[in-house]
């Protein structure tokens, strides 16, 4: 059950973060550091989208922190003129959790990749999602290890031939959206690096979600896995391959809107011919649905190998009390009930209940 945070409806999801006096611009978020991604990398598009979108939140630059792990995407904080930490492989969600818990006045973002978040750091990611700490996680998924020069990753399709798998990879990939939904995530979305408008819309929704938001960004690595998302990007194929989720709308896609998603008598979701099946019988997308089952079923429509019929957009966006808000409530009520822990209280605590005095 998703019990809303006490008083949740009354507070702004960005509550506690100081706002700006003068509006900021994208330029305010650029640093003097030379960006060192490969020319043509999808990361540039994401960086530009984030820098352009942040000013609209009207929060102070000094109260924004980007924390990353290791990998190409994890260089991201160096290029953001905010506070930032480039940490160690896989651990960014854990580090960001400590920061977010300590400092409710900060907007904390994690930038990670498929190897960083789903392989070495898988444990931290799932626990951050389940706790619902107030973090925004941008997972750049290029389905390959780029910085180590081209080994297969936990999202690579099975059979992938890489330097470390000359005869093809053997393991089944993770579907990051399915994984996040299974890990009790309160916000899960997927978007594509090259679709600036969609990307920005998803970032906006994530920023306005109080709790852990997982945003999977399909991101092209033009050196080691070029064209991995071509089916979803090419004007010739994308309309029939991508399912764009719109909250409150029937799920339809295709050049003519000819495809739809419907529930079968056995309970599963299938792609159907919209006209033939009847547009009224199509599933209406509900990101606020308390139960994540439909969102999970939507995440399973994508072919794990080709990614055909991949749904993008906000799969899930539900209200649930955040770990940090609950912790701060516990602290506040401890102070209310017992009084603030000042020096005399500390001295009493240290002395305990059984003391004796030795006279001079």
């Amino acid at each position: 059950m998703n019990s809303p945070a006490p008083g949740f409806g009354l507070i702004d999801p960005l509550a506690g973060i100081p706002t700006v006096d003068e509006p900021l611009t994208a330029k305010d978020f650029k640093t003097d550091q030379e960006v060192r991604w490969c020319p043509g990398c999808g990361d540039y598009a994401v960086l530009a989208a984030v820098q352009s979108f942040l000013p609209e939140l009207n929060i102070r630059r000094e109260n924004i922190v980007f924390v990353s792990g290791i990998g190409c995407s994890s260089r991201f904080p160096y290029y953001m003129n905010t506070y930032g930490m480039h940490s160690i492989h896989g651990r960014a969600p854990a580090i960001a959790t400590g920061l977010a818990i300590s400092r409710p006045d900060l907007s904390v973002w994690v930038v990670t990749g498929d190897g960083d978040a789903l392989s070495i750091g898988g444990n931290h990611l799932i626990h951050a999602l389940r706790r619902n700490v107030n973090l925004k996680v941008l997972l750049f998924n290029n389905r390959i290890y780029g910085l180590t020069k081209g080994q297969y990753s936990p999202t690579s399709e099975q059979g992938k031939v890489t330097k470390s798998t000359p005869l093809g990879s053997l393991d089944v990939p993770f579907n990051p959206v399915s994984l996040a939904l299974g890990a009790e995530a309160s916000f899960v979305a997927r978007t594509i690096d090259s679709d600036r408008k969609h990307l920005t819309g998803v970032l906006r929704a994530a920023a306005h979600h109080r709790g852990t938001a997982l945003v999977e960004i399909y991101q092209n690595c033009n050196i080691f896995n070029d064209g991995a998302f071509e089916l979803l990007k090419s004007p010739d194929t994308k309309d029939d391959a991508v399912i764009r989720l719109e909250d409150g709308e029937p799920i339809r896609f295709g050049t003519e809107g000819q495809h739809g998603v419907a529930r079968m008598p056995d309970g599963t979701l299938r792609v159907v011919d919209a006209a033939e099946y009847g547009t009224k019988r199509l599933i209406v997308h509900d990101a606020q649905a308390p139960n994540p089952e439909v969102a999970f079923a939507l995440s399973r429509l994508a072919d794990p190998s080709t990614l055909r019929t991949t749904a993008i957009g906000v799969y899930r966006d539900v209200r649930r009390a955040t770990y940090d808000d609950l912790l701060h409530e516990q602290i506040a009520s401890a102070v209310d009930d017992q009084g603030i822990g000042d020096r005399p209280v500390l001295e009493d605590l240290i002395a305990g209940k059984d003391t004796w005095t030795v006279e001079a």
């Binding site: 100081p18 640093t31 550091q33 102070r60 630059r61 000094e62 109260n63 922190v65 924390v67 290791i70 904080p77 160096y78 953001m80 905010t82 506070y83 930032g84 930490m85 480039h86 940490s87 160690i88 651990r91 854990a94 580090i95 960001a96 959790t97 400590g98 920061l99 977010a100 818990i101 300590s102 400092r103 006045d105 900060l106 444990n123 931290h124 626990h127 912790l327 516990q330 602290i331 401890a334 102070v335 017992q338 009084g339 603030i340 822990g341 020096r343 209280v345 500390l346 001295e347 605590l349 240290i350 002395a351 305990g352 059984d354 003391t355 004796w356 005095t357 030795v358 006279e359 001079a360």
Partner: protein, 620 residues
Amino acid sequence: MAKQVVQLDRVIIRFAGDSGDGMQLTGDRFTSETALMGNDLATLPDFPAEIRAPAGTLPGVSAFQLHFADHDIMTPGDSPNVLVAMNPAALKANLPELPRGSDLIVNTDEFTKRNLARVGYDENPLETGALDAYRVHAIPLTSMTVEALKNVDVTRKDAERAKNMFALGLLCWLYHRPTEGTIAFLKKKFASKPELLRANTIAFEAGWSFGETTEDFSVSYEIKPAPVRPGRYRNISGNLAMAYGLLAASWRSSLPLFLGSYPITPASDILHELSKHKRFGVRTFQAEDEIAGVGAALGAAFGGHLGVTTTSGPGLALKAETVGLAVSLELPLVICDIQRGGPSTGLPTKTEQSDLLQALYGRNGEAPVPVLAPRSPSDCFNAAVEAVRIAITYRTPVIVLSDGYLANGSEPWRLPDLDELPPIDPAFSTAVNHVAADGTEEFWPYLRDPQTLARAWAAPGTAGLEHRIGGLEKQDGSGDISYDPANHDLMVRTRQAKVDRITASIPPLEVDDPDGDADILVLGWGSTYGPIGAAVRRCRDAGLHVAQAHFRHLNPLPVNTEQVLKGYRKVLLPEMNLGQLALLLRGRFLVDVVSYTQVRGLPFKVAELASVIHEAATDE
């Protein structure tokens, strides 16, 4: 007839029974009453890692040893004068350590054929004369407890379980301990279970009355309070003192405390304790693993809070990479390693000092970390405060090496005056600190204090000081990524120099040499302070001239270390590992340190150390 009262100067009692018999609780209660009497004391809980090992077996034996005296003592004692054995397993496991002539209190109800056979007794030792060398008090503790509770509405099982209180009552009578504290304790513990409260209280009182009336005990004993420095005292264990030290340091530095931790024996009690103190603004975070525990603490430190993680050896191994990141980020972080027997899972509930080299060197790259160690349970408070002072002043991770013996052992503690704590100033940056060539003012996170070499520390939320730091090598000053060879050489040496400069803020190694002419020095570090001190005292009483010095700081070492080491013909260094500090001192100072080691999971015995010192001192 009034019973005779004999004055003793010291007593060592060992309570031993099944892990479910409540021996730790019994020992704790007796300790509390003893502390209130004003005796000096030291305790040694010794229990198996299993929560409930098979009943009545040797591996399931749980023991608690308490040494109390009318004078200053330094250890929980080598071997008991009194053994309370609740079953045959407890007797068999502990008898080899019981000196002849000692008192042996035995629960005869448990000496059944089946229980005896279980631990390999063919015959009942109570009947064979095998215990003739001891003063045996054979008492049917279980049935007497059940009999005393016949009018109380509890199950037979609950009645039997109160036998530890019967035993405690008897011991309290025997050693003139007050009873009010235990009665008050039971009232609190069983507040919601009035029948259990009644049962335990009656069992406790019945034990006391039994001592008073039985002919089995013709004398009782009195141990006068120990003369100590005037002041207000309490009894405290190492883990509790560590938790309080962290709280006090949080108060002193005005930084909210954040503890990221993962449950691990014997460190978990620090997490339990700090999680109770939310009114102080303490945030405790039980992480998904050891790595996340230290990661979250480092995240909190980046946020300008006091980041702490607690662990034991296996956990320290997992945290190593994050500690290395903290070295590179130059952020304050405190890692409390409550050492236990290793390698691997090792001996979770037993003590050892074998993480020293891991703490000093267990990271990739040149990653110097200050390391310090408390010397007694109450000293964990001071060690925690000192660790926080160093971490914050020098912007560095600091490792505190406590151990299972200190963590669970306890001793009387003169309450500290908070005004005497060292100042701890985070000295956050609030303004830009550098002017670029083109005249723009900017913040350089790696600009250093010329004295301490501590870098500028700006917490998020400080306008105009936005900056990025990371684990990649940084340009001196600006903190920008740098792969320049000369800069890397400079940064590696600078991080080392910063740790070395801590030497200026720590006291020199103090040598205790009352005669001033000793030619042998006994060195130590951490929890061996008590046994070494007691052994040195014993050797001096025997006429030997022996000097003693004990390290609090293992990195950096005190400024006079070399001079001290080179001032003696012989340097002896007992350690509960295979000679880790000895290796280090030999390498650093080319001094032929003699290593004496033991890794039995238990503290050194005084008699054994005394004979080692004696041999070393008299060996030409």
